[in-house]
């Protein structure tokens, strides 16, 4: 069976190659090729999953070695794959959700001239993401890591004619570079510490390395995770990344790529287990981001940006869980999977709403849409219930476990972390209820208004053709879009229960990530009760603010916090003042030093050699006789020196 691992990656890679090199003659069939190959990858994934299930729990790690990529001395970089329970989970999520989103995109991108290219990029993303999770060493993982970064860049900027999209793509790329630097340093540190990159030897020997080294590696890995998973302080790109087409936001910037950081930390668990300080930083980052994203999500009127804030916050939960060590790894991944379902579903729902509303993204211009798009309403609603952690739905099980684990951290830390997680749950309930109410309930605020006013360029170019000044006629989306939403809604509802039933998910992942049952200072039932109470408070406050009273079409000025949250809690301003200005000053002073000091030395040296050259050149006067004299003199010196050496 292990020979099936490479085809898993090869199928979408082939799709990308065919679609991107095939040219216009594939325009008509391109989306089918892309979708079928993504589906093929999913089918292979299911076959492998069935095979793994048939094996004993300790026997579920498959290896496939293709070839040695760079063997130089003790340096060995292999193209080799490792499939275990952790990567299998990701494979199913990536290919499953990926295939659904391919299907959705057929309808969503129908009017786009460059649809073939879009599917090519999506396939490229799948291949890179699969490479990331299937690599059996950090170097190959890095290749996949960069590959998803590239695909993300290409897809955020897919509508490159829009300056905002091009800028957003560039921003995502640049911010990710900072994180990637962390990963590359971590890999170099690993090589100097362990002499190899392969997961097995590195993680196996992690216990023997000094804590200082493990902490350094762990912090660098965390930096990488922060970049890719949009965690504070490298979170600023995710909101802008919503400039990409909505299926991209659903697949890459919600369900899969942004969770790569969680994968990295979980995969490197052995390193973090030996570095408590690094772990502490991880949980702090997770907790801060959890609140940060949630607060940003409360203030956004753009439906996709509100969801982006939510994504940040949910990944904050995962990072927090992963930072807790063996008591949290399993739940980080569990929340990752359930989040993959409901957040992808929510994004697809948002896309469906936009599709029916002439690509309007401002929720203040929505309202009362439940009558017009019933399927979208129901699937979005189920996703909503799942994310706020409505008892019985997916998000409830996974989030509750994380909150429990946070309390189980113990001591003051445990109380703080648990409290933050609970607060986050309440805020989540608040902003998601707000989105729900503003979109599907209340007055039909779009009546008698033009959508997507010119001052705010429309998100999708097709809108311009469809006439941006007309009043929207909300309508349900085509089957190709609603079916994936329905499937994801099923996942949102049932996945959590399925995973928790008899602790099946814990037992599945335990051999890879390890598991220790956490004992919170208060009983599990109390934690669950607290979670539900937080949920009810959040929903109630949202209803009081947005359900009971009409929503104004123009946003009110809002409190200081609201205004800050609308500007993403001033993250860009912070970056500008600290990094951009600081960078400019640093550059200027360096340029000054370069001009005066360095250039002075360099030019002085050059000038002195030039002068020497000009003088030596005069020896070359063109007369054979003087050349002969030089030769004679040279020989005489040669002989004299030789004799002298002997004499000495």
């Amino acid at each position: 069976m292990e020979n099936l691992i490479a085809p898993l990656i090869a199928a979408p890679l082939l799709g990308a190659a065919v679609l991107l090199c095939g040219g216009r003659r594939l325009d008509r069939a391109g989306h089918w090729i892309g979708t079928v190959l993504a589906g093929a990858s999913f089918v292979i994934g299911v076959l492998l999953f069935a095979d793994l299930l048939g094996r004993g729990a300790e026997d579920r790690t498959l290896h496939q070695h293709l070839f040695s990529w760079i063997p130089v001395g003790s340096f060995r970089a292999d193209i080799a794959f490792q499939l275990d329970q952790l990567s299998m989970t990701f494979v199913l999520l990536i290919t499953g959700v990926g295939t659904l989103i391919h299907i959705y995109s057929i309808g969503y991108m129908e009017h786009d001239e460059r649809r073939r290219r879009f599917f090519g990029y999506l396939n490229l993303f799948l291949a890179a993401m699969l490479l990331l999770v299937l690599a059996d060493n950090y170097l190959l993982l890095y290749m996949g890591w960069e590959g998803v970064g590239l695909a993300s860049y290409l897809l955020i900027g897919f509508w490159q004619h829009k300056p905002s999209a091009a800028t957003a793509a560039k921003k995502a790329f640049l911010v990710n570079r900072v994180g990637d630097l962390g990963l590359s340093i971590a890999i170099m540190l690993m090589f100097t510490t362990f002499g190899t990159f392969a997961f097995g030897p590195v993680l196996g020997a992690a216990g023997d390395a000094s804590e200082g080294k493990l902490t350094a590696i762990g912090l660098m890995l965390l930096l990488a995770a922060c970049g890719k998973s949009a965690q504070v302080p490298l979170q600023s790109w995710l909101g802008d990344a919503m400039e990409g087409p909505t299926p991209v936001s659903a697949l890459i910037h919600a369900a899969t790529m942004v969770t790569a950081g969680v994968y990295l930390i979980t995969r490197s668990g052995a390193i973090f287990n030996g570095a408590p300080d690094a772990q502490l930083v991880v949980v702090v980052v997770g907790a801060v981001t959890l609140l940060f994203g949630a607060i940003v999500g409360c203030a956004k009127d753009d439906i996709k940006k509100a969801l982006a804030g939510s994504t940040m916050s949910q990944i904050g939960y995962m990072i927090l869980a992963a930072g807790l060590g063996p008591i949290g790894y399993v739940f980080a991944i569990m929340h990752l999977v359930t989040h993959g379902f409901f957040k992808a579903g929510l994004f697809l729902g948002a896309g469906s709403v936009m599709h029916g509303m002439n690509d309007e993204v401002d929720m203040r211009k929505y309202g009362g849409l439940r009558k017009y798009m019933p399927v979208t309403f129901v699937t979005f609603g189920l996703g909503y219930l799942a994310i706020i952690g409505f008892p019985g739905l997916s998000g409830f099980f996974s989030k509750d476990k994380i909150i429990e684990a946070a309390f189980a951290k113990g001591g003051t830390e445990g109380w703080i972390l648990g409290g933050v997680a609970l607060l986050g749950a309440a805020i989540t309930a608040f902003y998601m209820t707000r989105v729900m109410l503003m979109t599907f309930f209340g007055e039909e605020r779009w009546r008698g208004r033009e959508t997507a006013s010119p001052a705010e360029p429309s998100a999708e170019p097709a809108a311009e053709e469809r006439g941006r000044h007309a009043e929207p006629h909300p309508h349900e989306s085509p089957k190709s879009m609603t079916i994936p939403m329905v499937v994801l809604a099923f996942g949102s509802v049932f996945a959590g229960g399925l995973f928790s039933f008899g602790d099946s998910f814990v037992r599945w992942l335990e051999p890879v990530t390890g598991y220790a049952h956490g004992h919170p200072p208060i009983s599990a039932a109390a934690v669950t009760t607290a979670t539900v109470v937080a949920l009810v408070i959040g929903v109630a406050v949202a209803w009081l603010m947005y359900g009971r009273v009409p929503v104004p079409v123009t946003a009110p000025r809002g409190s200081l916090l609201t205004r800050a949250a609308r500007r993403d809690l001033l993250q860009d301003d912070f970056n500008h003042v600290v990094l951009v200005r600081g960078g400019e000053h640093l550059t200027r002073s360096l340029v000054y030093v370069d001009h005066t000091l360095v250039d002075g030395v360099v030019n002085g040296t050059a000038a002195s050699f030039g002068g020497l050259s000009g003088r030596l050149r005069k020896l070359q006067n063109g007369y054979a006789r003087s050349y002969a004299v030089t030769m004679f003199g040279g020989t005489a010196v040669l002989i004299a020196a030789t004799l002298l050496m002997r004499a000495v």
Partner: protein
């Protein structure tokens, strides 16, 4: 007794004669391993045939006949070298052939192969007939219509009008190649001297044969000849002194005497044998003769004048093949004959290496003619190679072999590019005319830039691999100072190489600038081979480094 003296000139293997046997019987019939000399014999044979072609083939057919003959002969000789190498003559079966005159070993075969390949490429550039505008309806190459005609005189005009060309350059080149093949293989001092003359005399002639700027060309040839003769005299004197010291011209015998392992003393030479003054002076004089050929400071002064004046294809040929042969001979001399003198020659050679590297690089900075620039660059490179030569380790040998192979193709390619950039007066060699070439002919400028980067030793070019190997060998051989100076010299040299690149790509083209001629397949092939070898040896040098490593063992 005089018989014995003559005898010892020719063989080292025969034991001193026993009394009672007539002297005449003691001269053994020479045994010559013709098969092992095949590369040389093929080339010499083709050269002789080439002269017959000149005599008997009608004028119209000569060019094609000569070109065909030369390329086939060089290719066949290369095939013979490959066959010998495959037969193990470079490694397990290395020995001394032709009655002690020729050493058959790895360095010999590697250098012969390099020389032959470089010569094939050089012959391509010799045969280029598309670059010069047609003279009276006849296609012409870089060589004069009639060498004997007075420059600018009536005879020359008549010869041009008649469409004459100097097809003799092909057999001349073949003779030179034959000399070059023997030069690094020579295993006694007389063979060394003869090979030197066989390779030099045709080159003197070739230098004088430029079609344009004939006076400059002839001046270059005369200078080269005079100084060459001068250095040959030193060399010959050195040979005489060494013979006086060792009683033999055989490398092995001299080495034995230096090593002090010889008991029998030739009574005729009893007065001089073992006299260290003779040895040191003789060795220094022979070294000087070889350093002249490789163009090391202070015996380098002919190089810029001759490189500039000679027809550019000949310059490329000289700069590549001659240098390979001369370094081969130098290696053998220092490793086989004079290793016992290591502590005497090393300090002196250190000084030579340092002034050569620095001198070449520094004087090149202020050059304004591209051919002179490349000449000084070749001097600096001679210094780099010498740094590897005096490492006195097996790695030193193999690094030098690799460097020579890499360097020769870059050099021929670079000079071939020089032939393409032309204006009304022929090749536009003044640097100012190269300004903005990159805008006008990006491809040619890019190719030249690749060669310049290789000269500068930028990674991913053969220049880097070669320089790295040589400097590493020098450092391992305990010459760290040389490496430091070498790196400084490289940095200085990088300045003027990159200046040319900047000139080509970042300067405004001049309105009256030169045009880039479209060459035939011949020059294109020469340049193409240069680029391919440069990049292959730069990106994946491992195989060739190993090949050079295997070829590093001298037979003694």
């Amino acid at each position: 007794m005089s018989v014995t003296a003559v005898h010892s000139l020719w063989t080292t293997t025969a034991a001193p004669g026993s009394p009672g046997v007539p002297a005449i019987d003691r001269i053994p019939a020479p045994t010559i391993e013709y098969a092992q000399l095949a590369p040389v014999l093929i080339v010499v044979g083709a050269a002789v045939l080439g002269i017959l072609v000149e005599a008997f083939v009608p004028r119209k057919g000569r060019y094609h006949a000569q070109l065909f003959l030369s390329v086939v002969a060089l290719a066949a000789a290369f095939a013979a070298v490959v066959a010998l190498a495959a037969g193990g003559y470079g490694t397990t079966k290395k020995h001394i052939a032709a009655m002690g005159a020729i050493a058959m070993d790895g360095p010999t075969l590697f250098l012969q192969g390099t020389i032959l390949l470089a010569s094939i490429v050089a012959v391509f550039t010799f045969a280029e007939r598309r670059l010069d505008p047609e003279a009276h309806g006849n296609r012409v190459d870089s060589f004069v219509a009639q060498a004997a005609a007075v420059p600018g005189g009536e005879g020359e005009k008549a010869a041009v009008k008649a469409g004459l060309t100097t097809t003799e350059v092909f057999p001349l080149a073949l003779f030179a190649v034959a000399g070059m093949l023997v030069f690094p293989a020579a295993n006694d001092l007389l063979t060394l001297f003869i090979a030197l003359e066989v390779l030099s005399l045709p080159l003197y002639l070739l230098c004088a044969l430029a079609r344009r700027k004939r006076l400059m060309s002839q001046e270059a040839a005369v200078k080269y000849f005079l100084l060459g003769a001068f250095s040959s005299a030193f060399l010959l004197f050195g040979i005489a002194l060494l013979y006086g010291y060792a009683g033999s011209v055989s490398y092995a015998r001299i080495a034995e005497v230096i090593g002090g392992s010889v008991q029998s003393v030739d009574p005729a030479l009893a007065d001089t044998m073992g006299n260290d003054a003779l040895l040191l002076i003789g060795a220094a004089l022979i070294l000087m003769g070889l350093l002249f050929k490789v163009g090391a400071v202070p015996f380098h002064m002919w190089t810029p004048d001759v490189y500039q004046g000679a027809p550019t294809p000949v310059t490329g040929f000289m700069a590549a093949a001659t240098k390979v042969a001369a370094f081969g001979a130098l290696l053998r001399l220092l490793y086989v004959v004079l290793p016992g003198l290591r502590w005497d020659w090393r300090p002196v050679m250190w000084a030579v290496v340092i002034v050569t590297m620095l001198g070449g690089a520094i004087v090149a900075i202020t050059q304004t003619d591209i051919k002179r620039l490349l000449a000084y660059s070749s001097i600096a490179h001679a210094g780099f190679i010498l740094a590897g030569v005096i490492a006195a380790t097996p790695d030193g040998v193999s690094s030098v072999l690799f460097y020579l192979a890499a360097y020769s193709f870059v050099t021929i390619g670079a000079f071939a590019v020089v032939t393409l950039v032309r204006d009304a007066g022929g090749e536009a060699t003044h640097l100012s005319k190269w300004a903005g070439l990159g805008r006008r002919s990006p491809l040619v400028a890019a190719v030249f830039a690749v060669f310049l980067l290789a000269f500068a030793g930028i990674p991913l070019t053969s220049g880097f691999s070669g320089k790295f190997a040589v400097f590493k060998a020098a450092a391992d051989g305990g010459a760290g100072v040389l490496v430091v100076v070498g790196v400084i010299a490289s940095a200085i040299a990088a300045f003027f190489y990159i200046r040319v690149i900047v000139l080509m790509f970042f300067s405004e083209p001049k309105p009256e600038g030169p045009t880039v001629a479209v060459p035939s397949a011949l020059t294109t092939a020469a340049i193409g081979v240069g680029v391919v070898v440069t990049l292959v040896l730069g990106v994946a040098p491992q195989y060739f480094l190993e090949l050079a490593g295997q070829a590093g063992g001298f037979v003694r």
